[in-house]
């Protein structure tokens, strides 16, 4: 039999059982699309984290009170209070070029009646470039480190996703409200107006883009920090000294101080992301295997239903190989259609999933690299990954067809013709 005849017969057989064929194809589509989406999002997240790493200075250590770090774990009971004494001590260490103290918290901001809840950081705004060397500001911005009423606004706050007009502009007044519980346990609120002196351009770091920077003293006052810093940015001469300085600080303060580097954070995030991606990809593969089992069932039923047809074909001279090829081509057609639709669905699904706006999460202390939710970065579909998923889906489909096809090819024509 010519290959075109086998394709024609296989196509007719699949069309004859439309609903069953569609349902079987759907199983392959689901498995393939799931794997494609996961791969796309995983690649997107990986590229996003790499972009963040590139935007961060590599010679900076973030110190926080206590031993907690990006690796998890809570502060120890004897955690260090980060104050000016510690700052001066750290500044005196070899290879340390500067130490930037920071306060952090969460406030509500009000602009012409519009309200947002944002992260607030108290620091010298001119030191933002210590951690983000490429940071830039919109035209008209003016950093005023000593101005207690000046605020520097992140891009996401100024231009919320989906909004047609900016939330704030340079020169505008912003009302900041801080809610806290006083020593008697009562809820208190404190509000102050700030002048927007500068707006950051998109930094590529979701945490900083969603932060408001104010003067160190102003933050100490409004956030009731009592001169206890939340974190310190420690800049070393260059990145080769990071480990040395980190070790030196650990030798002095032990576990009472938490030390992190952007690289360490990104590494943990990458590992977590890879772990998650592997887990979900396993689910996708399981879905593909379920699809393959569906193909086995469909084709096995088909063999049973078409047993007289197989008997007739063999009686009129069809070779075992032709019957085997006929059923394998049916399986391959299901695989090819399912895998191709699965790829298309996965790509569309990946972009659809990332088109919804979301909030970002991040690590503790300072700005750090942003966490980024699943929808904060576009998926990346690598051609090689797509080809791999396509081949895997088609291969599984064909493999699933082997047993029913073999069974059909081995049928005795006499036995098959007798079967009702």
């Amino acid at each position: 039999m010519n290959p075109s005849d086998i394709f024609s017969l296989a196509y007719d057989a699949l069309v004859d059982r439309k609903v069953r064929t569609i349902l079987t194809v759907l199983m392959v589509v689901l498995g393939a699309s799931l794997v494609v989406v996961i791969n796309g999002l995983s690649e997107g997240q990986s590229a996003f984290l790499q972009q963040q790493l590139n935007s961060l200075a590599s010679n900076v250590i973030t110190a926080t009170s206590g031993s907690h770090s990006y690796y998890g774990g809570a502060s120890s009971q004897s955690s260090l209070i980060l104050n000016d004494v510690i700052v001066n001590k750290l500044r005196s260490l070899p290879y340390v070029t500067q130490v930037v103290p920071m306060y952090s918290g969460s406030v509500t901001i009000n602009s012409y009646g519009n309200v947002q809840r944002v992260s607030i950081v108290g620091m010298d705004p001119t030191k933002l470039t210590v951690e983000l060397p490429n940071l830039q500001f919109v035209d008209g911005s003016n950093l005023s480190p000593s101005d207690r009423s000046a605020a520097v606004v992140g891009d996401t706050i100024a231009n919320p996703p989906g909004a047609t007009t900016p939330f704030v502009t340079v020169g505008q007044t912003l009302k900041i409200t801080y809610s806290y519980t006083d020593s008697s346990g009562k809820s208190q609120q404190e509000s102050r107006n700030f002048l927007v002196s500068a707006i950051m351009t998109p930094s590529g770091n979701p945490r900083i883009d969603n932060s408001l920077i104010i003067n160190l003293d102003a933050a100490n006052q409004i956030l009731h920090k009592s001169n206890r810093y939340d974190s310190l940015l420690i800049q070393t001469q260059d990145d080769t000294y990071v480990n040395t300085v980190q070790q030196e600080i650990t030798d002095i303060y032990g576990k009472n101080i938490g030390l992190n580097t952007p690289q360490a954070f990104i590494q943990v995030r990458q590992q977590t992301a890879q772990g998650n991606a592997m887990f979900v990809e396993m689910i996708g593969l399981i879905a593909l295997v379920v699809g393959a089992v569906g193909i086995v069932t469909t084709l096995y039923n088909s063999v049973t239903e078409r047993i007289r047809e197989i008997g007739t074909m063999k009686a009129i001279g069809a070779q075992n190989a032709a019957i085997l090829a006929l059923f394998l081509v049916e399986a391959a057609m299901i695989g090819v259609i399912g895998a191709s639709l699965g790829l298309a669905t996965g790509i569309v699904g990946g972009y659809a999933m990332t088109s919804f706006p979301s909030h970002q999460a991040g690590g503790p202390g300072g700005f750090g690299p942003g966490g980024g939710s699943i929808s904060s970065f576009p998926p990346i579909f690598l051609p090689l990954d797509l080809i791999r998923v396509w081949l895997l889906s088609v291969g599984l489909a064909v493999a699933a067809g082997i047993f029913p096809a073999w069974k059909a090819s081995k049928l005795s024509p006499m036995v098959a013709l007798r079967r009702e």
């Binding site: 039999m1 010519n2 075109s4 005849d5 017969l9 007719d12 057989a13 069309v15 004859d16 007289r308 047809e309 008997g311 007739t312 074909m313 063999k314 009686a315 009129i316 001279g317 069809a318 070779q319 075992n320 032709a322 005795s412 024509p413 006499m414 013709l417």
Partner: protein
């Protein structure tokens, strides 16, 4: 002996086949026996069957149910292997062939007509009829041309694009006859070809087989229960208890 195909898929007969084509007998059955051993005991389905069928002869095989006539037809059609004995079609000892060669032989030397037609209902009459040609690797145009020629000759050329399920029983059996003829086989084996048809339609189908034998010199072996139809063939072989009881020229 062997049957093989060349790369283009067209049939390539061996020298033995060429020699066989020169023999006068289309079919020779020599000492054919079929014995089934089961837990219930030994069953002799066929016992030392011997007969020959000349080219162009129309032979009926008759006998009561369970006499072994269908088993005999299955052996002659190489759908089953005998316990002992030989079947020669056009001089070719078909059981000396391997399974693949038997399949090729069935395709090129035997045309089957079944009681329940055994057509593929999801596809068209034309595709059904040309299927043996398709299996033999015949070109699409040649298979189409041959199939249409036969369908026209059998008076159902206008049904070529229809699906068999939409045809009457008689028309479906004509499609099956057309399919049996498309590869120009040495013998046509018909197993109760009128068994699923009413008397009038059955007679029409039988007349058609008779016409094929008379007009086109086809060799036909037909299993039937109907003594009237059997008497209308050239020769009747009566099978009883696995053996030939009578071999009568009509």
């Amino acid at each position: 002996m062997s049957l093989s195909r060349d790369k283009s898929g067209t049939r390539q007969a061996t020298t033995l086949v060429s020699r066989a084509n020169e023999t006068a007998n289309a079919l020779e059955v020599r000492g054919l026996s079929k014995i089934y051993d089961s837990t219930a005991g030994r069953v002799v389905a066929l016992d030392n069957i011997n007969f020959t069928v000349k080219k162009g002869e129309f032979v009926s095989i008759v006998g009561p149910s369970g006499s072994g006539k269908s088993t005999l037809l299955n052996m002659v059609g190489a759908l089953d292997r005998p316990t002992v004995g030989q079947v020669l079609i056009n001089g070719i000892d078909i059981f000396a062939l391997n399974d693949s060669q038997i399949a090729t032989m069935r395709n090129s030397l035997i045309g089957f007509i079944f009681q329940s037609f055994n057509l593929i209902n999801r596809t068209t009459v034309l595709k059904n009829v040309k299927l043996p040609g398709t299996i033999s690797g015949m070109s699409v145009s040649e298979a189409n041309e041959r199939a249409m020629k036969i369908l026209d000759a059998l008076g159902i050329g206008d049904k070529a694009s229809q699906k068999p399920i939409n045809l009457s029983g008689g028309q479906q059996q004509r499609v099956a006859i057309a399919r049996a003829l498309v590869n120009n086989p040495a013998i046509i084996l018909a197993d109760e070809p009128t068994g699923n048809l009413d008397t009038k339609t059955g007679d029409d189908v039988f007349d058609m087989l008779k016409m094929l034998s008379r007009k086109f010199n086809r060799t036909i072996i037909m299993v039937t229960h109907n003594p009237e139809l059997a008497e209308s063939t050239d020769r009747s072989i009566l099978i009883r208890d696995g053996g030939i009881e009578k071999d009568v020229i009509n």
